[in-house]
């Protein structure tokens, strides 16, 4: 055990720190759930990619740096420290990208990954359907192979960033006789294809952060199939859960929130302790964010030495999403009557972006597999309890 960073790791940290100091936007961008904000974030992705910071874990020939997980964690720490913009293309670069590298044909990789990396093509994810939420194997949207094209009919929903995204990846039922997770195929769909209707769905903040996507005889070239026909489930489950979770929600994000929470508590010291539970909650926030960081590093070190991680990765999703909720709930308590005010309201003094974070924290235990589903997985696959 040696918990000091190596010289290379320290240099790497310095390099990204210097670059971000020179390049990260000085002012926060507008929300990427507005048309203008989406565009600003897309442009930021291009800047990142220009500096080869877009996706440091990607191989060098794809514009990455071939970083390992520890370097990824360092990158994220610096990124959150610099308060750089959220990643508008996260579904592409964090989720689809690694899957493509594993299952894509050389032609697909060459065609798709560079434009994904520079933000030219932003991706949305189409798993959920009105009747296939937690039970994803209940997917009913159909894709029928006609000649060299798939003809898609059906509906996807809750697709994040789909309102202004360029592409959608999803699973469709190609074998009409099939059931459950058999007969599903992973297909990439350009969202400007005729027959597609995207209907924005405003979220709790009123902005259209996700959308329904309707498919009416949408024709997509067979070249857009990822993996074999009928192998969609396996392709979708491919990239290890831990790494995927790590890319999506690295510890730095929550440590940064914990830091802000301590600051908020201290700024409001005159009133924060009116509820004695608040101080305890702030202490817990700090500890839990640290626990998340330490545990993530330990797991990343184990993995980089060839270790394996199984169903215990499901603990990760529960831990960070509940931590995020608890931290924001505590901030709301500290803000008291100001908590409900939109940031631009005249009396909303010092409310920062807590309300936005609080709203979004409500969704953490739901998306990416609800926490109840994660608990089932932990009980059955990690602890070996009966089905």
């Amino acid at each position: 055990m040696d918990l000091a960073f190596t010289k290379e790791q320290r240099d790497f940290r310095q390099e990204i720190r210097t670059w971000l100091a020179a390049n990260a936007p000085a002012q926060p961008l507008q929300s990427f759930d507005t048309e203008q904000g989406f565009q600003q974030h897309r442009e930021w992705e291009a800047v990142l990619n220009e500096g080869r910071w877009g996706m440091v874990t990607w191989p060098e020939e794809l514009g990455g740096r071939g970083c390992d997980l520890i370097e990824w964690l360092i990158f994220e720490e610096e990124y959150y420290r610099a308060r750089a913009p959220l990643r508008v293309n996260q579904n592409g670069i964090f989720l689809l990208g690694p899957t493509l590298m594993e299952y894509g044909t050389p032609e697909q990789k060459a065609r798709i990954l560079p434009k994904m990396a520079n933000g030219e093509e932003v991706w949305s994810q189409g798993w959920s359907e009105p009747n296939a939420g937690s039970d994803m194997a209940a997917i009913r949207s159909r894709a029928e192979l006609v000649g060299d094209k798939y003809v898609i009919n059906g509906q996807k929903t809750w697709s994040t960033r789909a309102v202004w995204a360029d592409w959608c990846f999803g699973m469709f039922r190609t074998d009409p006789e099939s059931e459950r997770h058999h007969g599903l195929t992973f297909i990439l769909v350009p969202l400007d294809t005729p027959g597609i209707t995207v209907r924005p769905i405003p979220q709790l903040d009123g902005l259209p952060g996700f959308a329904e996507i309707f498919f009416d005889n949408v024709e997509v070239s067979v070249d857009n199939r990822l993996g074999d026909e009928g192998a969609g489930w396996r392709v979708a489950m491919a990239t290890a859960g831990f790494e995927r979770g790590l890319m999506l929600r690295s510890p730095a994000r929550f440590q940064e929130t914990a830091r802000r929470l301590v600051e908020l508590y201290r700024e409001n010291s005159a009133t924060a302790d009116h509820d004695p539970a608040v101080k305890d909650a702030v202490i817990r926030a700090y500890l839990d964010a640290e626990s998340y960081c330490l545990t993530t590093y330990q797991t990343a070190c184990r993995l980089s030495q060839g270790g394996k991680i199984g169903a215990e990765s499901s603990t990760n999703k529960i831990f960070w999403s509940e931590l995020d909720q608890n931290m924001h709930a505590t901030a709301m308590s500290i803000l008291g009557a100001r908590a409900e005010l939109l940031p631009l309201a005249p009396d909303a003094v010092g409310v920062g972006s807590w309300l936005d974070g609080w709203l979004f924290a409500q969704s953490g235990p739901i998306y990416a597999g609800t926490n109840e589903i994660q608990r089932n997985i932990i009980a059955e696959r990690m602890l070996g309890m009966p089905r």
């Binding site: 839990d288 330490l294 932990i378 089905r387």
Partner: protein, 348 residues
């Protein structure tokens, strides 16, 4: 950056786990409750022969000269079987304190301890009572800014019965004319370090205890049927256990980090230990609570083994600094101007 244990450390953990699991059975623990001292000479000799008792004794005094990181996984295993013998106390608390005291005391006692021929036990004012003082050959007792090194004949012991029959607790009175071994800043510094080591030992054992209670509950709920089904197939039961698994999974790295901080004498050692103690004891207390629940009435009888582990977990939460003490220490740091918060403070 390498946050893993070595192959040897992991292999040793495995062999100690096997030994303890086979030797320190609930039946043997129950038998110890009936005995006078509650401690067994034979078992102590076996632990000595395995190299565990002298593991942290410096080589020049006949030990293996290993540190807290080497011992931490073994302390977890001691927790897993609820080992009544004061092994964690010896290796993580008494031996390091004696080593730090140095001089005559260390030269006289450490070789005997490493050979399994003597036991030293430590009593800090932070703890109401001294564990296992009745089997001590040497007592290291802190009062204010003084630390005394006394033999049992020099003090008087007051037995206090615990709800956990494995725990033997004593009030110790020091005669007014006793001379301290050290006083002043040195004693205060050693007291702080000793408390940290005691808390680390408690935290590591709490991890083991939590794991044991989960394992027992998973086994029980995989055998018991109600409504024609295994009760472990009910989601409410599963989720009780999953919640413990989450708490436990995220308490391990903080404990390992605390061991490393102490071994490296880092400035952050105190708060790293407080973090570890808080989260590990919270996980063990949750394990106790949820394990009783999923056992139904079967969690309540004296004859069922669950309480061997549960009561130890409860007790550990309040020794070597209770939650209030450790939270206050974390709070003092995070609400200070020196605190390094945010994404880059964890390892810097």
């Amino acid at each position: 950056m390498d946050f893993t244990f070595t192959e040897e450390q992991l292999l040793f953990q495995e062999s100690v786990r096997d030994f303890l699991f086979n030797e320190v059975t609930p039946e043997r623990i129950r038998a110890s409750w009936q005995s006078d001292t509650g401690r067994e000479h034979l078992l102590w000799q076996q632990l000595t022969d395995l190299g565990l008792v002298g593991m942290t004794v410096p080589e020049e005094h006949g030990g293996l000269g290993m540190n807290e990181v080497d011992f931490i996984l073994l302390a977890q295993e001691c927790g897993y079987v609820a080992l009544p013998e004061p092994l964690v106390h010896t290796a993580l608390v008494a031996v390091p304190l004696l080593s730090d005291l140095g001089g005559e005391l260390a030269a006289q006692w450490l070789p005997k301890i490493a050979a399994g021929q003597a036991k030293a036990l430590v009593g800090l004012e932070q703890n109401l009572l001294v564990e296992d003082a009745h089997v001590a050959d040497l007592l290291l007792l802190q009062r204010g800014d003084a630390i005394y090194a006394l033999t049992p004949e020099q003090v008087s012991l007051r037995h206090n019965e615990s709800v956990d029959p494995s725990r033997r607790l004593y009030g110790v009175d020091i005669p007014a004319d006793a001379a301290p071994a050290v006083t002043g800043d040195i004693a205060v510094d050693l007291t702080g370090k000793t408390l940290n080591r005691g808390a680390l030992g408690a935290a590591a054992q709490a991890l083991g205890l939590a794991q044991r209670m989960v394992d027992m509950s998973v086994q029980y709920t995989g055998e018991r049927q109600q409504f024609g089904k295994l009760i472990g197939s009910f989601q409410a039961v599963k989720h009780h256990m999953a919640n413990v698994a989450v708490a436990l999974e995220y308490a391990k790295a903080p404990v390992h980090r605390a061991a490393y901080s102490i071994a490296m004498d880092e400035v952050r050692a105190g708060r790293a230990v407080s973090h570890a103690k808080l989260v590990a004891c919270a996980a063990a207390n949750l394990a106790a609570k949820n394990s009783v629940q999923v056992h139904g009435a079967m969690g309540y009888p004296w004859e069922v083994d669950l309480h061997i582990f549960m009561k130890k977990a409860w007790a550990l939460a309040n020794t070597w600094g209770d939650a209030g003490y450790h939270k206050a220490r974390v709070a003092q740091y995070i609400f200070s101007d020196e605190a390094q918060l945010g994404a880059v403070g964890t390892f810097s």
